[in-house]
Assembly symmetry: C2
Homo-oligomer: 343 residues x 2
């Protein structure tokens, strides 16, 4: 049926036989109206296609249904994946996700926050750049918008933090590597932007000392998010100069490890734990690519689906309670060891 064009809520209210304020209430929360009313509205919704003007809604509501999601670098499939899962949870909760990437850039991160401010989001889920973040700008933002931080821990920021237990996972893989061969050296960026990297480094050092081994740090240069390149170029240099302190290398993350694998390949070093292998290489994160590396990468996973679910859950709690929490909750999820061929 070529039914009448509905221009606004007034007209829709008319054809559905319900008053406009009640219809408005329905669209704000379908559960807030009587079942019989809901049925009549939904019936009308099926014959006439009408959707409230989102701009008019957002202009007048105290709170929009927008949830900002900010990740530091979207071209990294890890963040793309976690963002996707978060998006789904947000939609599930009846909100509208707005995905922004900081592209590894401080200015962009601040612009993202500015951009979010103009859309007055109900809340924000943010994985900050880390060291490169402008702490003052973030603090300022968190004051005005309920914000849950995830992935990168920056102390005290936001209403809560949800992330990965780097201490536990680093200990786990150090233990494994020491048990199964030569104690590892630690391969990392000299000045990583991500705070997780510092925690992994520190835990590596303390675990090695606990196990009675000398820790060795291999620190390569690089300050952008092209970790594979940084790992490869740094790796080429270290291998060329015969500066490998051990035949076992634990990398700060999988992307660096993939770069190091490429370097080893090009230098003719066979990687693995089998006979005839010159080098063992392990990573951290169980990155989507790690299982397709040559050889497949031994690593320790992040429980990103738990991180995503819990972050959204916490944010919803803050939003729906209507008040900011006094305490700053911090939640860390455990990783699991993935033993593959590389170490």
């Amino acid at each position: 049926m070529a039914s009448r064009k509905i221009r606004n809520m007034e007209e829709f209210a008319e054809v559905s036989g319900i008053s406009r304020p009640t219809v408005s209430k329905y669209f704000n929360d379908p559960e807030s109206v009587r079942k019989s009313t809901r049925a009549r509205i939904e019936e009308a919704l099926e014959t006439y296609d009408y959707r409230p003007n989102i701009y008019a809604m957002n202009q007048n509501r105290r709170l929009t249904k927008n949830i900002g999601i900010v990740v530091p670098y979207l071209a990294d499939p890890f963040f793309a994946e976690i963002a996707r899962v978060i998006e789904n949870h947000v939609i599930e909760a009846g909100y509208r996700p707005i995905l922004l990437s900081s592209h590894g850039d401080t200015t962009q991160e601040i612009e993202n926050l500015d951009s979010l401010r103009t859309i007055r989001p109900a809340g924000v889920l943010m994985a900050p750049l880390g060291r490169a973040s402008d702490r003052t700008a973030l603090e300022d933002f968190c004051k005005s918008v309920p914000t849950i931080m995830f992935d990168s821990y920056i102390s005290g920021l936001g209403d809560a933090f949800v992330g990965h237990d780097n201490e536990l996972s680093t200990e786990l893989i150090c233990d494994y590597l020491c048990r199964s061969g030569e104690p590892p050296a630690f391969f990392e960026m000299r000045t990583p932007t991500n705070p997780n990297a510092y925690r992994r480094r520190n835990t590596y050092v303390s675990t090695m000392e606990k196990l009675g081994h000398d820790p060795h740090l291999i620190q390569v240069e690089g300050d952008d998010w092209e970790f594979e390149r940084i790992g490869m170029e740094g790796g080429m240099k270290v291998i060329s100069e015969h500066n490998l302190p051990s035949n076992t290398i634990l990398c700060s993350n999988d992307r660096l490890a993939i770069g190091l694998l490429a370097a080893a390949y090009q230098k003719g070093l066979r990687v693995g734990h089998g006979a005839g292998c010159a080098l063992r290489i392990a990573g951290h994160d169980n990155h989507p690519w790690s299982q397709f590396a040559c050889p497949p990468l031994t690593t320790v996973s992040q429980d990103y689906s738990a991180i995503a679910a819990r972050s959204v859950e916490l944010l919803m709690g803050v939003i729906e309670s209507g008040e900011r929490p006094e305490s700053h909750e911090e939640i860390f999820f455990e990783g699991k060891l993935f033993m593959r061929e590389s170490a």
Copy 2:
């Protein structure tokens, strides 16, 4: 100075000494007011921090400044990269990018279009899923919103298409492979979702025939976007069954090739063009990962920065002219050969 809080454009107009309609005009397009007026507004903008309410603006403007960007699968760094470049161009042009991913799913693609409809975008840049797309839904959308399609060619859809010249690039790499060794077999998904894949297959076949060789298709199963897994599992099978018709394999894209590399590695086949190598493998796209594969992947690039720039340029043309073009322009950019160690 703890200056007066500005609540709306009325108040801002007052403190800036300019009338509200003129201020409104300024925010719509700063160039549209006299230089002296612009200076006074911008001066006021520095002491008072005011930004127009974006919802009120969008509600009342004939056209919003929103530009939708839809990609089929954001966890693929190729799309993440091209989306980033497009975003920048869009911002540069004074518009507001809204990035959406279809996550490889038809339903999600339709939902993205629905979601875009509610925000009444000035235009949309869309890379469709391809075969999995709901053509009717896309056509319907394109009728109501100026849309430029990119990457995946679906005939006649949208106001224009911008993409990669698959014929030329496939010919290029076929030529190279034939010239430098055994003629290649073609490794692909049996029923790829992406139309580019079909073009590459057809061009492979015709090029081989032109060069006087028998074409061989190796078609593996899989219908999602986890190309590495599909390539690896398919590759393992083919290698196990000794079904490789040539020692040279041209893959339909780099991600499949990376999967095939992993399979070859695990089967103990040395890949490369040097002495002692059992297999040559080449890809297509010059994917961000391809240079870090073991060995680095020989491939042919897509000129994604040209594709991004041109897409935005065309869309701006349509938007700013205010009328939809009659002809359906189709633009294809050339790729370049990247000779690395894998073939």
